[in-house]
């Protein structure tokens, strides 16, 4: 963990056993602080809504004129427009100067005045009127699209939570929804804190993130569901342990997924907005970037720990926890933290293969092995991996085929002599 490369290698080999669910207080506190800061900022500063929400008219014309020149030109065309906000935008690449004039909402819909200003600005910039970009938004338009966006979000939340409820279960739906709300609050907070402009594009981008965030969460839950099938009857791991195991199992996937989603977005942001100066791409990219990051974070650090917290309240899982905690051989709860590799092989390899592992972790795994019944006997996975291909090719698997990672724990108890913990379970 100390060395990034080593950490990466362990991640790649599935040798991580981070305690995601157990440290929920830390994660919740971090998110709490960010959300709180966002809420305070939202209350104090509000949001920087774009013209689409407030209504108004914006012109952009390539011109080298000064702001004061532009102001007098605009005021000359339509008296009263001098109050408009006028700024100069410069493209960092081409050094092209653009004059941007923004007039308040009351002039929206007055096409004669709008075209008068357009003409004046075109003359000032010495370009044709078609080279003037005009955007005029009626005052009710913004509130309308906001309304539609909100309706879309609500419908989406209802449909998706219904789906998760059916496909998985109620508590997972709750945890996934909380993670979503978390993403909404964090993103909104960051927008308020930074003062980035919120445009309809931002809202769209935002809605997408909700889908994406859920997507990540669902992949994790899918694995949790698989791993916890029959958990209550095996009595070997607590629900929290299983969530941790599942998290570590999908960690590489989660990180890779988030990375492959964030990389193109970063490209949109960097190439599109900074270098080529397309503001449309910037608004999109920024919202997607913030949201995707938050979404990746929330599926790992919010949704899963919360699920564990919720499920541990169920009597059957509380029971397992109580029993395992009172079990002298089990030792600390940490001892049940399996690495994906260990869970996959069923037996934990000797710490030889993990030079970085030290102290507690290594010991954990040794004890972990004591926990998991090893039907494979003295099988040493690290060595066998080498033979696998050949063996698979011949089609003569001498040792009983090891069960895949996902199903490793529960089914094993089905087709083998019931292991020790199972008997305890029956005494219930």
């Amino acid at each position: 963990m100390a060395h990034p490369r080593a950490a990466f290698a362990r991640l790649f080999r599935g040798e991580t056993s981070y305690d995601f669910a157990g440290r929920w207080r830390t994660w919740f506190a971090i998110s709490g602080v960010i959300i709180l800061a966002g809420l305070v900022s939202f209350g104090v500063r509000g949001m920087n809504f774009s013209i689409d929400f407030k209504g108004g008219t914006v012109w952009e014309v390539p011109s080298t004129a000064s702001v004061s020149k532009a102001r007098s030109v605009v005021d000359g065309a339509v008296p009263g427009f001098g109050q408009a906000t006028i700024e100069v935008l410069t493209n960092t690449q081409t050094h092209q100067r653009t004059i941007k004039v923004a007039a308040p909402a009351k002039f929206a819909g007055q096409s004669a005045k709008i075209s008068a200003v357009t003409d004046a600005l075109a003359k000032m910039g010495n370009v044709s009127t078609n080279d003037v970009t005009v955007q005029a938004i009626g005052p009710s338009w913004g509130s309308d699209i906001t309304h539609k966006a909100i309706v879309a979000v609500i419908v989406f939340l209802v449909v998706v939570s219904g789906y998760i409820w059916l496909r998985f279960e109620g508590k997972m739906a709750v945890a996934a929804l909380v993670a979503l709300v978390h993403d909404i609050l964090v993103t909104a907070g960051i927008y308020s804190l930074t003062g980035f402009e919120v445009s309809p594009d931002t809202v769209i981008a935002f809605l997408t993130i909700l889908g994406y965030s859920l997507y990540d969460t669902i992949v994790v839950f899918d694995r949790v569901q698989e791993n916890t099938r029959g958990l209550a009857s095996t009595n070997r791991l607590t629900y929290t342990d299983t969530v941790n195991l599942s998290m570590n199992q999908v960690l590489a996937r989660s990180l890779n997924t988030s990375l492959v989603a964030i990389l193109p977005i970063t490209a949109v942001l960097v190439i599109g907005a900074w270098i080529l100066g397309a503001t449309g791409l910037q608004t999109f990219g920024l919202a997607l970037f913030v949201g995707l990051t938050s979404g990746a974070y929330s599926s790992i650090f919010i949704a899963s720990p919360l699920l564990a917290l919720l499920k541990e309240r169920e009597p059957r899982y509380a029971e397992i926890r109580r029993r395992l905690q009172s079990q002298p051989s089990a030792g600390a709860a940490a001892s049940r933290r399996l690495t994906p590799a260990a869970a996959a092989t069923g037996a934990v390899t000797a710490p030889v293969a993990q030079p970085v592992r030290v102290g507690a972790d290594a010991r954990d795994e040794q004890e972990g092995r004591a926990q998991v019944p090893t039907g494979d006997g003295g099988r040493e996975p690290e060595d066998h991996l080498g033979d696998d291909d050949a063996r698979g090719g011949i089609g003569a698997p001498a040792p009983p085929p090891p069960t895949p990672a996902s199903a490793s724990i529960p089914p094993r108890s089905g087709n083998r002599p019931p292991p020790r913990p199972r008997k305890k379970g029956r005494r219930r």
């Binding site: 989406f156 989603a261 690290e382 033979d387």
Partner: protein, 557 residues
Amino acid sequence: MRRGLVWSLVLIIGAAIVSLAVTVAVGATPLLGLDLRGGLSVVLRPQGHVTSGALTQSVSIIDRRVNGLGVSNSSVTRQGNDIVISLPGVKNSAQAFSQLGQTAQAFFRPVLCEIAPYAGGSSSSASPSSTVPSGGSTTPKAIGAAPDYRLDSAEMPASGLSPPSQATTPPTTSTPATTIVPSQSSGGSPVPVNSPPSQATCSASNSAQIPSTPVENDTSTSAVILPFYLSPSQSPRYVLGPADMSGSGVSTANVIVDQTGQYQVQLQFTGKGSSEFDKIASQRYPFYAQNKSNPPYQSLEAFELDGTVYSAPTIQAQSFNGTAVISGSTSAPFSYKQANDLAVAMKYGSLPLRFVPQSLQTVSATIGKDSLHAGIAAGIGGIVVVLLYMILYYRLLGLVVVFGLAVGGSLLYSIITGLSHSSYHLTLTLAGVVGIIVSVGITVDSYVVYFERLKDEVRAGRSIRQSVERSFNRAFRTVLTADLVAFMAALILWALTVGDVRGFAFMLGLSTILDVVTAYLFIRPMVIFVGRRRAFTEARYLGVARGLGARAATREA
């Protein structure tokens, strides 16, 4: 089994190659939205009470206006109650906008005369606000040709049975010619170059050079020159006096069939409309009674909607008592479409919707081009980075991703291009480009899910060969679930929002479906294939085993 895999590979790669080849060969490219090529987009919202029929009628009226502008690939669509107009690459956006934002208005007007179709070129300083594009200088039809329609009472549809004339002396003081009020009030828009039409226009030798009255100058108090709606550039135009009454006097209009099997339009007037119309009829009828075989213009009353004449029937009765029938001329009876167009125009002309522009956006062509280039550059840059990462991380399997994205990309491009040129007129907007870039993440994710599953299996001691098939089934379940959620998000976005969002959602949804298809038809057979070959699994740097972390395998095997 094995054969099935090969077939699905052949199928999808073949489909990708063929569709791309066809697209390229035809030379088709996706339609670009106006934020990528410049142009004008307007969202109009109706005010007051809105009925679906009125809205549909408004869309078709605006559609006609837009077509009159001669902008290619323009579109007028309904989104909820809003009407979204997009005019990519429009030349004069300010003028286009002023024409589009007008309220649909219907009037009954006296006919002064007919003049030749507009043949004025753009060479002269012709009015910039002409609604009629120059449609080639066909020889003008004889002025004074017999009017197309006649209007008689519902009770007596047969033309020979008009009521006996009572006022044989026409009320000369109120003939249309004398009541023309030359219009000075033209609603703030620039006054057209030509002076307001009057009786003098009828005798002007250059009548074909006089442009028709633009829609925004078509007010109730002005005299106007309007084309006939069916063929504005070919048939003679009407010179019309100020409105006698507005179209709101019509309460409803329907197509009926008379005894001889001809289509007719039956009108019902409102109470106020009925008395107004009877007043007009009592002025027009005497002219008809004078010369029934060749009724003079004074006996005609034109119905005009939104700058075009729908009908100019002869008034063949003095009083209508709230109901009238318009029939086609004996020489040219109504087709059903003609009758229906007229009925619809009269019905909805009576409840015109007033539209207020909600959002107007003009994008200069330069900025559009810049955005397009930025979008493409960003997309390519992003994809390259992602693919490099995939290859570094998964080695040969990463190359499968490269290949798979090429297949998926060709299909996506062909589909987008195909839909662009279908009746759906899909346009690719900046938001859509971002949607596609985002969907790269979704697509690559399917591979990651699969490969990580594969890793799990290999870790569990299974051979790569064994793992590839087993893990796909599990991974596919996850991919399906996740894609379903992404698709639902896209669908809901698409259904419940307006504007740019829809383009974004559309691309996202489309990519999601393609992702499922390529996952099953491409990724699965390809990975199984690669996983079976020793050459691929054990290659020194690119080997699958290396990508899956089964280092020991390569070393010790």
